[in-house]
């Protein structure tokens, strides 16, 4: 309580100063403070720490030795790193390609007024209630070639070695990611679709546009910013898929699903090479930032432009 006192005092002083020019600004400054402190403590300072660690050789126990660019050389000349980078982008793009159309269609569907809509929507959103680890454990058991669904129901097609064959394991991981995250993006699209004014559809109907044309010429363009938000979440989020893949495959078989986030964890906490792991950490930050900037640039050129012209 005592710590709050100075803040309260500050505020009263501000109020007493009344409408002095700039007073409004400093009040806003105080509002930003908590977020700024959190950001400094949990994002910025660790980021500096990781940058520094990437220039060291440290096993987590002994003395930290500065070795310059040695960890960077070690990581960047390791073909395993480039394989992980390639896999990360493959996961990113393929999950985006799989999730976006399905979420968009489902979102449009559950935003409507059809019969059974509420019931179906509840079913669609069920995966949202489960944690990644639980989803991964469930799928791991279901897909087990000897004790899983295929073996239990005697369906040879389902008894594939889903997580043991490098190609199949990659596809399976994409599928489970999509299964987990499509409901979330469906929810975002549902909200977006409900924002579209009904008059637009009525006008289109009068002009003779069918369901399909309405979808492509009204719904999709009107959802532009929703698509950008959802895509940014998907693309940047895919950089840090960890728990699901870790429980499903631990990055295996071989290195078939060892994306950068797993590579970082394995290097840092299994091989105890904090320097090398920090290099991967820095790479992830840079890729994430670059990606966000690119999406913002591509989409944000006409941020100020209204989509409701004439409404």
């Amino acid at each position: 309580m005592a710590a709050l006192a100075p803040l309260v005092e500050d505020r009263t002083q501000l109020r007493e100063r009344g409408q002095a020019p700039g007073g409004g600004k400093s009040r806003l400054g105080i509002l930003v403070l908590p977020a700024l402190l959190m950001f400094l403590a949990f994002a910025f300072i660790p980021l500096i720490g990781v940058l520094l660690l990437s220039l060291t050789d440290w096993d987590g126990i002994g003395a930290i030795q500065f070795v310059g660019a040695q960890s960077w050389r070690q990581v960047l000349t390791d073909p395993g790193t480039w394989h992980a980078v390639w896999l990360t982008f493959a996961v990113m793009i393929i999950t985006w390609l799989v999730q976006t159309p399905i979420s968009l269609l489902l979102g449009t569907f559950v935003a409507g007024q059809q019969r059974y809509r509420a019931f179906l929507a509840v079913l669609f959103f069920l995966p949202l209630l489960m944690s990644s680890a639980a989803i991964a454990i469930a799928f791991k058991s279901l897909l087990d070639p000897n004790f899983g669904l295929g073996a239990g129901l005697h369906l040879p097609f389902l008894a594939q070695d889903w997580l043991g064959d490098p190609t199949l394991a990659f596809i399976t991981v994409i599928f489970v990611i999509a299964w987990q995250f499509i409901p979330f993006h469906t929810l975002i699209y549902q909200g977006g679709v409900r924002q579209i004014p009904e008059q637009m559809y009525e006008a289109a109907q009068i002009d003779g546009a069918g369901r399909v044309r309405q979808f492509f010429f009204i719904t999709v363009p009107q959802l532009k910013y929703t698509i950008i938000t959802s895509s940014t979440l998907m693309l940047v989020g895919s950089l840090v898929y960890f728990d699901l893949i870790w429980v499903l495959t631990q990055g295996g078989p071989g290195n078939a699903t060892r994306i950068l986030a797993l590579d970082m964890y394995i290097r840092g906490f299994q091989a105890n090479q904090m320097g090398a792991a920090s290099v991967i950490g820095v790479i992830l930050v840079v890729v994430g930032l670059a990606l966000t900037l690119v999406i913002q640039r591509l989409a944000g050129r006409d941020l100020a432009a209204s989509q409701m012209e004439g409404m």
């Binding site: 105890n272 950490g281 900037l293």
Partner: protein
């Protein structure tokens, strides 16, 4: 413009925060031994006992209960008090490393010996117990001699063996062998013949939890020894350049790949995790005829499938390889677990810890508890007690394996440094998937020498 900047900043936070989350967590994990000892003993020290020491150990019955009882009994002796805290295996491994690195380890550090112990010793975080053991020859002589090796680094002993010995055993499903009219394999050629026999019967010859990787590693541990003797891995352990290019290494890797090519392992082995015990389930459900696994699997199977263990389970040594140099009695696995004493502990705490070693551990009661639970404690005094145990046959087999082994090679992933172990497990996985040749395996591993 403002909105663009804020969102960029937000994403900076998002990206940075999530990518670095792991590191942030590791920093938060250092609550240190000051933590009140969760399951700590409720019993007060009797009389004016000197000092209190802390101990971290692992959860999981029966060993958690045995340790708790042993500590409770010691605390009543009046030689000091030990506060024990139990952790789950995997979180413990990360937590203890952080605590030791931060100089906040408990007095008694539970460990596995080998490479991790070496990193503690190199950093001066654990006490050298060599001279203390020299002053207490009776204590040192209590143990089966082969279990000291993994606690010894450059001729100095940094830890004391505890709990039970866990060599790697070849298990069989007796029912399937009877049905096929087959005998357990004595040689590698027998094993390859059995692969055809069992595949012909629609049964997988060997169960394997390949996703865990250390399971596949056990095959190479035995093959290296059977073909080239313990010298092969000793050279690797000593970081001799190109020691992975030894012909015995190449030949072992070829044998493993021949076995994979002959469908020697269960279908889908690379997605089976040993943690779920699905590999053991394959053996007792009759889907696989044989399984190479640690001695601990006996206890696991006994707990879930007592009927199978009583009537359907057989076990034996790993087959010999014709023309191989290794003694067929050599064994591999986990010789024991270990307690080290933190060098950061006070003298008083260290005295209590050592009193626990000599007066608290491996009392008659503790020995009986281990044996009753189907395990084999790492002390010689266990032998006469084994005969009356319900699992006498298996326990005597394990005791003899450990005590008669000319060489007991510690599991490689624990003997090597964590960085080498990680590369090794990754390459073994690829070897079993036929993604790399034995020569590529050797080259990749030679690159880790000296790391």
């Amino acid at each position: 413009m403002t909105s663009a900047i804020t969102s960029r900043r937000r994403f900076l936070g998002l990206a940075a925060g999530s990518a670095l989350g792991a590191f942030g967590l590791s920093a938060c994990g250092t609550s240190g031994p000051a933590q009140p000892g969760g399951a700590a003993s409720g019993s007060a020290p009797a009389g004016g006992a000197a000092g209190t020491a802390t101990m971290w150990s692992l959860t999981g019955q029966p060993n958690e209960g045995i340790r708790q009882d042993s500590v409770d009994a010691f605390n009543k002796l009046g030689k000091g008090t030990i506060k024990v805290t139990f952790f789950q295996n995997d979180p413990y491994k990360a937590k203890i490393r952080t605590a030791v690195g931060a100089g906040q380890a408990p007095t008694l550090i539970f460990g596995w010996g080998g490479g991790i112990l070496k990193s503690y010793a190199d950093a001066g975080q654990v006490d050298d117990l060599t001279s203390w053991l020299g002053e207490n020859p009776d204590f040192k002589g209590k143990f089966i001699p082969s279990v000291w090796k993994a606690a010894t680094i450059d001729g100095k002993v940094y830890a004391v063996p505890i709990q039970n010995t866990q060599p790697i055993v070849l298990y069989y499903n007796k029912t399937l062998f009877d049905k096929a009219g087959a005998q357990p394999p004595a040689t590698w050629d027998d094993a390859m013949n059995l692969v055809n026999v069992f595949n012909g019967q629609g049964v997988a010859p060997f169960s394997l939890g390949g996703q865990s990787k250390w399971t596949s590693m056990m095959w190479l541990e035995y093959l290296f020894d059977r073909i080239g003797g313990p010298e092969v891995f000793d050279a690797i352990y000593a970081n001799k350049p190109d020691s992975w290019s030894n012909p015995a290494v190449i030949s072992s890797c070829q044998k493993v790949q021949e076995l994979v090519n002959a469908n020697g392992f269960i279908k889908g082995f690379s997605s089976i995790a040993a943690d779920t015990q699905a590999d053991q389930a394959l053996l007792y459900t009759g889907k696989a005829a044989m399984m190479l696994h640690g001695a601990w699997a006996y206890g696991n199977m006994k707990a879930t499938q007592p009927k199978f263990v009583a009537s359907g389970l057989a076990y034996g040594n790993f087959p010999t390889v014709p023309g191989g140099k290794g003694d067929p009695k050599n064994t591999v696995g986990n010789p024991a677990n270990y307690f080290s004493i933190s060098s950061k502990a006070t003298d008083e705490e260290k005295t209590v810890a050592k009193a626990y070693f000599t007066d608290g551990m491996f009392t008659d009661t503790e020995l009986d508890a281990y044996i009753k639970s189907g395990q084999v404690p790492v002390v010689k005094a266990a032998q006469p007690k084994l005969a009356s145990s319900p699992d006498a046959a298996f326990q005597q087999f394990v005791f003899n394996m450990t005590s008669q082994a000319p060489s007991f090679q510690q599991s490689w992933d624990q003997a090597l440094s964590p960085a080498q172990a990680e590369t090794l497990l990754n390459n073994i996985d690829q070897l079993f998937l036929l993604k790399i040749t034995p020569e590529q395996f050797a080259t990749a591993m030679n690159a880790t020498i000296g790391n």
